[in-house]
C-alpha cells in the first residue's frame, strides 16, 4: 500500500523528459568534456563556408569563362535564335560542376572521410548548394543581358535558361549515380551536344521551343526541377562506402 501512496504522491509532479536531440547533445558534451579538443557547434552554414575553399579551382575558372562567353555572344549574335542561346549554354554549367560535386567520391577518400564528423553526404549537399547558388547567379545574369540586348520577354528567356539548366543537371546527376564522374561528364556532354545541334540544325525544334507558351514552359521546368531535387536528395542519401565500392571497383585488401 505504501508504494502506491508514494506513487500517487509522485504522480503529482509532472516530469518532462527532454527530447532526443537534447539527450544526444548532452552525450556529445559529456564525451567532449573529457577531451582536449572541443568541437564547436556545427551549423550547415558553417559546413558550407568550410567547403568553399575545397571547391575545385577549375570550377570557378570555367564559371567565369561561361560568363564571358555569354556576354561576348550576346554582343555578336543577332538573330531570332538569340534566346535559344540561353537554353543551350546553361547545361554547360553542370558539366563544370560535376567534378566538384563528385570529387570526394572515390573509395579511398570515402573510407577516411566517412569516419569524420562531417560525412561525405553532407559535404555533397554543401557543395551542391555552393555550385547551385553560383550557377543561379550566373543564369540570372545571362537572363539580364538577354533582356537588355534582345526584345524577348524576360520571363520567357528566364524559363528557357533554367529549363536548359535543370534538365541537363538531372541527366548529369542520373548518370553520376551509375558511372564514374568522368564517364558521367562525357555522356552528359554528348547528350548536350546532340541537343544543342538539333536545336540549331532543325528549325522545327527551334520553333517548337521558341513558341512554347508560358504554361507549358513552366510545367516542364517545374517537372525537371522536381526530378532534379529528387535525384540530388537520392544521391546525398546513397553515397555510402558500399555504394562507392560498387562504383569504383571492388579491388580491396
Amino acid at each position: 500500500m505504501k508504494n502506491k501512496e508514494i506513487k500517487s504522491a509522485l504522480d503529482y509532479y509532472d516530469v518532462k523528459l527532454p527530447d532526443e536531440d537534447k539527450i544526444e547533445s548532452t552525450v556529445l558534451n559529456v564525451i567532449n568534456s573529457q577531451r582536449t579538443v572541443k568541437t564547436p557547434e556545427l551549423s550547415f552554414k558553417r559546413i558550407i563556408i568550410s567547403q568553399i575553399s575545397s571547391v575545385k579551382n577549375s570550377f570557378w575558372f570555367f564559371s567565369f569563362l561561361f560568363l564571358i562567353v555569354i556576354v561576348f555572344m550576346y554582343l555578336k549574335i543577332d538573330s531570332e535564335y538569340t534566346t535559344l542561346f540561353l537554353f543551350s549554354t546553361t547545361p554547360f554549367l553542370n558539366i563544370i560542376a560535376l567534378p566538384t560535386l563528385f570529387f570526394t567520391f572515390n573509395r579511398e577518400r570515402m573510407e577516411l572521410e566517412g569516419t569524420c564528423l562531417i560525412k561525405p553526404a553532407t559535404v555533397f549537399s554543401a557543395k551542391s548548394v555552393i555550385c547551385g547558388a553560383l550557377d543561379l547567379i550566373l543564369i540570372l545574369f545571362a537572363v539580364l543581358i538577354s533582356a537588355i540586348v534582345t526584345d524577348v520577354p524576360v520571363l520567357q528567356s528566364a524559363f528557357l535558361g533554367f529549363l536548359g539548366y535543370t534538365s541537363s543537371a538531372f541527366i548529369a546527376m542520373c548518370f553520376s549515380l551509375f558511372f564514374k564522374t568522368q564517364v558521367a561528364m562525357a555522356v552528359t556532354s554528348a547528350i548536350y551536344a546532340v541537343a544543342v545541334s538539333s536545336v540549331f540544325v532543325f528549325e522545327d525544334v527551334a520553333n517548337f521551343i521558341l513558341n512554347m507558351n508560358f504554361a507549358t514552359l513552366s510545367i516542364i521546368f517545374l517537372l525537371f526541377f522536381l526530378l532534379l531535387s529528387g535525384v540530388v536528395y537520392y544521391t546525398k542519401n546513397n553515397y555510402k562506402y558500399e555504394r562507392v565500392v560498387f562504383l569504383y571497383g571492388t579491388e580491396n585488401i
Binding site: 544526444e24 567532449n32 577518400r109 569516419t115 562506402y241 585488401i253
Partner: protein, 295 residues
C-alpha cells in the same frame, strides 16, 4: 569507456569476411593480430562505421553507434590501410581539409595542424605535395590526421607499414603516450610492433577471434609447447613437414637450431624454450609471422 562489439558478421556474397565476432573493448591498446585476409580491415571498417555489417551491432557505452551517429564520429580517429589518395594536396592543406571535415574551427585548426606535424616529425615538409613524400612519411601524415580531433577511439590499420626501425620505435612511444583514457585498436601482422604495448591481443583467423587475452595469457597457451632442437640440414625438410617450425638459427652442435611449436616433444634432445608472441602466432597460424626490419 566501453566499446561493445556484439555478434558482428560481414558477408561479401557467399564469402564470410568477419564471422560472429564478440568483444568488449576498454581503454588501452588492443592489438588485432592476423594473417593477410583474416578480416582485420573489414572488422576495423565496421568499427569505424564506414562499412555496414550483415549481422550484429556495435555500441559505445551502451548506445548503438548508428544512433550516436555524429557524436560517435566526433570521437573517432581512423587511419585506413591504404592511404594513397590526396596526392595533389600539400601536407598542410590536407591536414586543414581534414580539420574542416572534423568540424574544427579555423584558427584552432591551424594551431592543431602544427602541433600534429611536430608530433610526427613532418614539420619540415608541411609545404610539400603528398605525392612527393616517402611511404613512411605518408604513413606518419596518416597518423597525424587521425589524431587531429584528439579521438577517444583510435583505429589504426597497419600503421607501421613502411616505417623504418627508428620510426617504428618512435611510433611505439607515441602510442604508449596516447593510450591513457583511450581505446586504441591496432591491426597488424607484425608481432614485434605490439609485443610491448598491447594491453590485450586478439588473434584473428578466417574472420574469427581465435584467441583473446593479455600477452601473458596468450604466452601461457603455448607454455610447454615451444621447443628448441639442433638438427642436421638434411632433416630440416621433414621437420618442416611434420611440425610448425619457427625461427631457424645457427647451431654449435649440429647444422642448425630450429624452434618448434608442438603439443608433443619433437625429439629426445629437444629442450623447452621460453615462449614469445611469435610462437603464439605460429601455434595458431602454422606459419611464421612476418618480421619486418629486424635490426
Amino acid at each position: 569507456m566501453e566499446l561493445k562489439i556484439s555478434n558482428i558478421t560481414k558477408k561479401y556474397g557467399d564469402k564470410i569476411a568477419v564471422d560472429n565476432v564478440n568483444v568488449t573493448l576498454e581503454n588501452g591498446v588492443c592489438a588485432l593480430l592476423g594473417a593477410n585476409g583474416s578480416g582485420k580491415t573489414t572488422l576495423m571498417r565496421m568499427i569505424a562505421g564506414v562499412l555496414g555489417n550483415t549481422k550484429g551491432s556495435i555500441s559505445l557505452d551502451g548506445r548503438n553507434i548508428e544512433i550516436l551517429d555524429s557524436a560517435y564520429r566526433n570521437v573517432l580517429g581512423y587511419l585506413p590501410q591504404n592511404f594513397g589518395c590526396y596526392k595533389d594536396f600539400k601536407v598542410k592543406d590536407f591536414l586543414l581539409y581534414m580539420c574542416a571535415l572534423k568540424g574544427l574551427d579555423g584558427k584552432f585548426a591551424k594551431k592543431r595542424c602544427e602541433e600534429m606535424l611536430l608530433k610526427v616529425g613532418l614539420e619540415n615538409v608541411s609545404n610539400k605535395k603528398i605525392g612527393a613524400l616517402s611511404g613512411g612519411m605518408k604513413q606518419r601524415l596518416g597518423i597525424a590526421q587521425a589524431l587531429l580531433n584528439d579521438p577517444t577511439i583510435l583505429i589504426l590499420d597497419e600503421p607501421t607499414a613502411g616505417l623504418d626501425p627508428k620510426e617504428r620505435i618512435r611510433f611505439r612511444n607515441l602510442i604508449c603516450e596516447l593510450s591513457k583514457d583511450r581505446i586504441i585498436i591496432y591491426a597488424t601482422h607484425i608481432v614485434s610492433d605490439i609485443s610491448y604495448i598491447a594491453d590485450r591481443v586478439l588473434l584473428m583467423k578466417a574472420g574469427r577471434i581465435v584467441a583473446d587475452g593479455s600477452t601473458e595469457e596468450l604466452l601461457n597457451i603455448v607454455k610447454g609447447k615451444v621447443w628448441s632442437v639442433d638438427i642436421m640440414r638434411n632433416e630440416l625438410e621433414s621437420y618442416q613437414n611434420k611440425y610448425s617450425v619457427g625461427a631457424i638459427s645457427d647451431s654449435k652442435i649440429k647444422d642448425v637450431n630450429v624452434r618448434i611449436v608442438s603439443d608433443v616433444k619433437p625429439d629426445e634432445k629437444a629442450i623447452e624454450a621460453l615462449p614469445d608472441l611469435d610462437d603464439v602466432y605460429l601455434y595458431y597460424f602454422g606459419e611464421v609471422a612476418e618480421v619486418e626490419n629486424s635490426n
